[in-house]
């Protein structure tokens, strides 16, 4: 006689009675703790930091309210700028008196570059706002270039 399906299922359910010795799970937990501690000691600090960092990155979730807050901030900024209460890009006008002495000192002009047309930067009523911001140092020595080779590079012991 063959076991029918019901009898087979009953027989299989009896396998639930196959149990490890008493106290097994408590001992296994202690062994688990011991292995965890050993693993922690084995891993270097850098590895542990990297794992924490990686898991932090993967588990990072943008909170839902952050989207609303970002949109509200954008609308607020757009309203303030659009209404003209706070114009963020007002240009400051330099007066002629603010211009550096470089414009009137030919020696300093030469120190920057002989080909630079400084007349473009002279203060005038039409375009008073463009000011070169590069200033030559007062202590810088002028350098002269002849045939593309600095004079100062001339070897002192050339025969």
């Amino acid at each position: 006689m063959m076991l029918d399906d019901q009898q087979l299922r009953k027989l299989l359910r009896l396998k639930r009675y196959e149990q490890p010795p008493p106290g097994y799970f408590e001992r296994a937990l202690e062994e688990f703790h011991r292995r965890q501690r050993a693993e922690l000691l084995r891993r270097s600090g850098i590895q542990a930091w990297f794992e924490r960092f990686a898991s932090g990155v993967w588990s990072f979730r943008v909170p839902t309210y952050a989207y609303g807050a970002a949109f509200a901030a954008f609308v607020l900024a757009a309203t303030i700028i659009g209404s003209g209460v706070w114009p963020p890009f007002t240009q400051t006008v330099d007066t002629a008196s603010d211009l550096p002495s470089v414009a009137t000192n030919p020696g300093n002009r030469l120190a920057l570059s002989g080909n630079l047309d400084w007349s473009k930067f002279y203060p005038s009523l039409a375009s008073p706002r463009v000011v070169p911001t590069l200033r030559p140092s007062q202590t810088a020595l002028p350098r002269y270039v002849l045939d593309g080779r600095p004079v100062s590079y001339k070897a002192s012991f050339s025969f």
């Binding site: 063959m2 076991l3 009953k10 396998k15 009675y17 296994a28 688990f32 292995r35 993967w58």
Partner: protein, 195 residues
């Protein structure tokens, strides 16, 4: 702490993710007997089941920060356990010895056991130890995938839907695997009877 009084899984998982190792111990307390039974019935070897149990919980602990709660913790840890055990059994191959746990003495009082041994069945004349041995040998003749389904459904009493979620297969596949496995087990046990 009694299993009934343990906080729910979601709370324990969140506490573990926040670094509370005691919360993970409670998850161990809650799930280690079930996970052990699953592995044990798939490997039929206590020592292998012991090693795998520790490895599975170590893997769960390392990965718990990646647990998003899309499935229950129950499903998640069972999926880890089944996958690791299937890989282990495939690597182990056929060269192994069964090392079975003792049958709890309470089996003698189980209604199903009394029914099975009282009626005119092929197992009537077989003693308990031999019955256990025969059944486990028959189980070991199944493929590990079929054994997993039989363990979860017949021994652990999980519904088809839960097994399908754990294995990541359709419910229909679970049912067909069960049907095929039952037929095979019936044939193997019949062979024993004839011997």
């Amino acid at each position: 702490m009694d299993d009934q009084n343990l906080p729910d899984d979601e709370t324990l998982v969140r506490r573990t993710q926040d670094g509370d190792t005691r919360a993970f111990d409670l998850l161990w307390q809650k799930y280690s007997p079930r996970i052990y039974a699953l592995i044990y019935n798939m490997t039929a070897n206590h020592d292998d089941a012991n090693d795998l149990l520790l490895e599975i919980f170590a893997k769960a602990y390392r990965s718990i920060n990646g647990f998003r709660g899309k499935s229950s913790f129950y499903t998640w840890i069972h999926a880890i356990a089944v996958n690791m055990t299937i890989n282990f059994v495939k690597k182990r191959g056929r060269r192994f010895q069964m090392s079975l746990d003792d049958l709890d003495a309470n089996v003698q009082n189980d209604k199903e056991f009394i029914d099975l041994t009282a009626t005119n069945t092929p197992i009537r004349e077989v003693d308990l130890a031999e019955l256990q041995q025969r059944l486990n040998e028959a189980m070991m003749k199944l493929s590990v995938e079929h054994r997993a389904v039989v363990t979860m459904f017949d021994i652990q009493g999980m519904p088809h839907a839960e097994i399908a979620k754990i294995l990541g297969i359709p419910e229909a596949t679970v049912r067909s695997r069960l049907f095929y496995a039952h037929r095979q087990l019936q044939n193997y046990l019949e062979e024993f009877r004839k011997k």
